[in-house]
């Protein structure tokens, strides 16, 4: 599949945003979210900002953005519609939660029932939204690399990890104490690493889903080669779905994603465990930046490594 930057940006940034929001609400509920306005203001702004940026970028790649409200109507069957509904729906409780947190005296140790309720609802909606996003892909049968059970876990864990890393960095930058957040980030990274490793092994190991022979309805096992395409110049299908990344190139990028996306941040966070002060801040920022560079690459690969059944009509012998 063609790795469109709008979609990569959308999934990465909204993933991060929901990750942050999820952790903030959970931790708030558990009474472990710093009350320090120097921290919480930017935290909420960044979280909601990332989500909005993501949604906007996905809106912009529509043929008719002005009709976007229609996309909320088909939640009964369409994961895209569900995502839209949930994404917008999340703003409500999240917004109230934020207001409450920012404008009312909240006793961190025992936040009021209202806050707890809001935080729980927000957390659930965040998970649901990211899950829906992942299901948009995971429900597409023509794309074997997407239509897999482990795809949602990838999205969820990475969103969790990137949220934690951003909170960690933010806490460090604002000098507010946020106990254990770096541990949370480490956990997220490890989970993400595990899931991605399983995924990347899995899509290589999977046996072909379909062959050119079955794509044109010939007897099983008939070997078929494309002779001429229907049109001399590439068409929408080829531009949108014909993208193929060379295995070698993909391997390099996977290595890169492993190191930059997981290796470096984990290492840096571990080193950071014992430290404090500017050095810790620097490390926390490095961890966040590096991880997100890695996640962008991971997301690029998620598209680039996905092969669509339609390519069987344009030269692929199996997918």
């Amino acid at each position: 599949m063609h790795p469109a930057y709008s979609v990569i940006l959308f999934t990465v940034s909204s993933g991060a945003g929901y990750g942050m929001l999820f952790l903030m609400s959970i931790l708030a509920g558990l009474g472990r979210l710093p009350i320090d306005p120097w921290f919480s203001w930017p935290a909420f702004v960044i979280a909601l900002g990332l989500i909005s940026v993501g949604l906007l970028s996905s809106l912009l790649h529509l043929g008719h953005p002005e009709r976007f409200l229609r996309a909320l109507t088909q939640w009964r069957s369409s994961w895209l519609s569900r995502e839209g509904v949930l994404a917008i729906g999340t703003f409500g409780p999240a917004g109230l939660f934020a207001l409450g947190w920012l404008f009312f005296e909240v006793d961190t140790q025992s936040p009021g029932l209202a806050i707890v309720l809001l935080s729980v609802v927000t957390a659930v909606l965040c998970v649901a939204t990211v899950f829906s996003t992942s299901m948009i892909y995971a429900s597409l049968k023509p794309i074997p690399q997407w239509c897999r059970g482990d795809v949602p876990y990838g999205y969820l864990t990475l969103s969790f990890a990137s949220g934690a890393l951003l909170l960690n960095a933010l806490a460090a930058l604002t000098g507010s104490t946020f106990d254990g957040i770096s541990i949370v980030a480490l956990i997220g990274l490890v989970l993400g690493y595990a899931v991605k490793t399983r995924y990347w092994r899995g899509i290589r190991a999977a046996k072909p889903l379909s062959t050119a022979g079955s794509a044109i309805g010939l007897e099983k096992g008939t070997s078929v080669r494309s002779l001429d395409p229907p049109h001399t110049e590439p068409n929408y299908l080829q531009k949108e779905m014909g993208y193929r990344v060379a295995r070698k190139h993909a391997d390099k990028l996977r290595q890169f994603a492993y190191i930059v996306g997981f290796g470096v941040p984990v290492l840096v966070l571990l080193i950071g465990l014992g430290l404090s002060g500017p050095l810790l801040t620097a490390l926390a920022v490095i961890a966040a930046v590096s991880a997100h560079v890695g996640i962008v690459v991971e997301r690029w690969l998620f598209f680039a490594e996905a092969t669509h059944a339609v390519t069987l009509y344009y030269g692929a012998e199996s997918i």
Binding site: G63, T73, S77, L80, S139, R225, Y236
Partner: protein
């Protein structure tokens, strides 16, 4: 409504395409383009029509393949258009309700006025039957010539898809595949019509008939002489002289 019809449609209109007779002439593709350029989904816009990389919207595209069929190989021409699947994911993934499958005849359509151009349906179609019109910002596709097959302004015989009425070798057949007695169903039964990529579970309505393998029933010739002179002597006896 992007839910599929609750009850499977009573009629399943679709195409049966005979790969044994398709010569790959593209008549169906161009006639489709021509008809639909003024029809239900008009226009089928073309980008850079006289430049280096012309790229337009086509509801029907004719590929050619080489297949190692039994015995000798075979060049197979393969026209590709919407299969009006029973289990059409292209419909269920649609967030707006623009994509829908008609209860009355199973035809899968796009309601362009509702389409936001998110392209998800084209990702959901394994058969590449969805055609995004970049210039109109909406998704388009084979309509099974919905504006022909019921059209009272056409005489009975003409009420078939444009691609069917124009196919010079009659490789394209149109009809109700839910009715076992229909001509198309018979054809599918007799020739073992195949669905495309059944393993994906879309339950396509259209069927494709595979190239048949011919066997010679002629007995080998018996040369009655092995030399020219021998032959002529025989002919003398046969009173050719």
């Amino acid at each position: 409504m992007t839910d599929l019809p609750a009850t499977t449609p009573t009629r399943k209109l679709g195409l049966v395409i005979d790969l044994d007779t398709c010569v790959g002439c593209h008549a169906c593709a161009v006639n489709c383009k021509e008809w639909n350029s003024g029809g239900f989904a008009a226009p089928l816009s073309d980008t850079d029509p006289y430049g280096a990389e012309p790229d337009g919207v086509w509801f029907n595209r004719v590929h050619s393949f080489e297949a190692d069929t039994k015995g000798a190989g075979r060049t197979v021409h393969f026209p590709r258009s919407c299969l009006h699947c029973d289990n059409a994911l292209c419909v269920t993934v649609c967030p707006t309700g623009a994509s829908y499958k008609r209860e009355e005849d199973g035809i899968v359509l796009v309601d362009e006025d509702k389409c936001i151009g998110c392209k998800l349906c084209s990702w959901a179609c394994p058969y590449g039957a969805r055609e995004y019109d970049v210039n109109e910002g909406v998704m388009k596709k084979c309509t099974l010539c919905i504006d022909r097959i019921y059209n009272e302004n056409l005489d009975e015989a003409q009420r078939v898809p444009a691609c069917v009425s124009t196919c010079p070798v009659s490789a394209r057949h149109f009809g109700d595949l839910s009715d076992p007695h229909s001509a198309v169903s018979q054809l599918v039964a007799d020739r073992g019509g195949q669905p495309l990529m059944p393993e994906l579970g879309y339950a396509p309505v259209n069927r494709y008939l595979s190239p048949r393998s011919e066997t010679s029933q002629a007995a080998a010739l018996e040369p009655t002489a092995d030399s020219v002179e021998g032959k002529f002597l025989q002919w003398v006896d046969r009173l050719l002289s």
